[in-house]
């Protein structure tokens, strides 16, 4: 989609903590910027000298392969150096606090911290204690902004826009930061969000979110333009939210049968990793409606754009500081 942009936009956020506090224009600016970065991955030399001489730290306190590798590769493609930090191989296992860990890393001269943490709000806490830019790579049940950005980037590419679009998010909404960030992004961009799942997996206060709720997939299936199948996160599920995996699959799984009843061009998404045969059948995940692998490719472009923008905002801050002291 080659849209000509003539207006100058100033990105002012040195940290990307979530999408809840961003305006529509700001989200669109990230998506527009990502378009410019997508081409880099198609070249023979897949690198641009954007963050040359800068250091990015991946601070992951929770397991991740996709997001972590995607951030590492994004930083590498922008020519930054990357430090990989893991909870088990660090002083965190010796009792160091989150803020001390971040301050120690900062003392080594880092520019951007990418952080994933089990506690919601951890990235915000870090952003208040250090000068470097902070990017949230998933915090507790709060937000996972870059995942939602790559989801909406994919939807915009495939559907052309958001007006009048009905997007279903299916599964464990209560424990999903991906769902939360998607709800903020999609509603700001003008799409209608329908949360679908058993009542036991809906968040409390769901009526305060800008969404519709359906406890039955079959009741809304035919209306949907896009369906985002969340993974059942067994590691986060407490109690017995549904009687059995088979029953969940029966009512909420995306099957070949259900695809026959859906709109023929229904866009099928999944943030990965997939539980094949549970929330989605293999034939659907690998079928013509699936954009799951495109999502992964787009994630790289979106993360390059985010790293670029937060760093530009940090430079902007220095620029303003200089002008204030000159004038």
């Amino acid at each position: 989609m080659a849209r000509r942009r003539t207006d100058k936009f100033r990105w002012r956020h040195k940290h990307l903590l979530g999408l809840r506090d961003l305006r529509r224009g700001e989200i669109e600016h990230i998506l527009d910027t990502a378009e410019g970065f997508e081409e880099i991955s198609t070249r023979s030399i897949k690198k641009a000298p954007v963050l040359r001489g800068k250091v990015v730290v991946n601070m992951f306190f929770e397991d991740s392969t996709r997001t972590r590798n995607s951030f590492t590769l994004a930083a590498n493609r922008l020519s930054a150096d990357v430090i990989e930090f893991t909870k088990t191989a660090s002083s965190v296992s010796k009792g160091e606090t989150l803020i001390d860990t971040a301050r120690n890393l900062e003392a080594m001269g880092i520019d951007i911290v990418v952080i994933r943490h089990g506690a919601g709000g951890a990235p915000k806490l870090v952003s208040r204690s250090i000068n470097a830019c902070v990017v949230n790579a998933g915090d507790g049940f709060n937000e996972h902004p870059t995942q939602a950005l790559l989801d909406v980037y994919t939807i915009r590419k495939v559907c052309g826009g958001f007006e009048g679009l009905k997007v279903g998010i299916v599964g464990d909404i209560a424990h999903s930061r991906v769902a939360r960030s998607n709800i903020w992004a999609l509603s700001k961009l003008g799409a209608q969000v329908i949360l679908i799942g058993p009542p036991t997996l809906m968040p409390s206060c769901v009526e305060q979110l800008p969404v519709r709720v359906s406890y039955s997939l079959d009741a809304v299936l035919e209306e949907l333009d896009v369906i985002n199948m969340l993974r059942i996160q067994f590691e986060r599920l407490g109690g017995n939210p549904f009687p059995s995996v088979r029953e969940y699959s029966h009512f909420f799984g995306l099957t070949v049968d259900r695809m026959k009843r859906a709109k023929p061009d229904l866009v099928v998404m999944h943030p990965g990793p997939i539980n094949r045969g549970l929330e989605i059948e293999s034939e659907v995940a690998d079928g013509p409606n699936s954009v799951i692998l495109q999502q992964v490719a787009h994630g790289l472009a979106v993360r390059m754009a985010v790293l670029f923008l937060v760093h530009q905002a940090a430079i902007e801050e220095q620029r303003e500081h200089r002008q204030k002291h000159r004038g």
Partner: protein, 175 residues
Amino acid sequence: MERLLDAKQIDAALHKLCQAVAADCADPTHLVVIGVRSRGEVLAERLATRLARQFNRSVPCGTLDITLYRDDLNDPQGEGQPTVRSTEIDFNVDGRLVLLVDDVLHTGRSVRAAMDALVDLGRPRAIRLAVLVDRGGREFPIQANYVGIHPDVPDDQAVRVHLTETDGRDEVVVD
């Protein structure tokens, strides 16, 4: 505000550029035209059309976005936040004769950035530079192969190229 070129004169300058490129290019098989965003993009399209007519064969044309290669990208004393757009070149530049097109040649820094961006895409056989206006004031040792006009412009003034496709009219002014 002083006008350097009107629509007719821009057309004549492009004609002159096209003739000069054609005269140097015995074999147009490998010729491609690449414009630097955003005014260079429009000029490149116009030149490619003219060259195609001249050679009676299609001449591939693409657009280079040099934002990520600018040397003031991370400079707090730089101009301010740049907007990243896409590079759109749907052909391979390996072994090609690249005619790089920009509107105004001044310090030479944009051309340096454009050449760095180009060699990241592949290995052209040669790069030649065509500009509509060479206003002097070079900070890098860079020279154009084909120049529309060479005006004398004082350092504190800016040369602005307006083109119908982007600005609604064709003219070059100093202000």
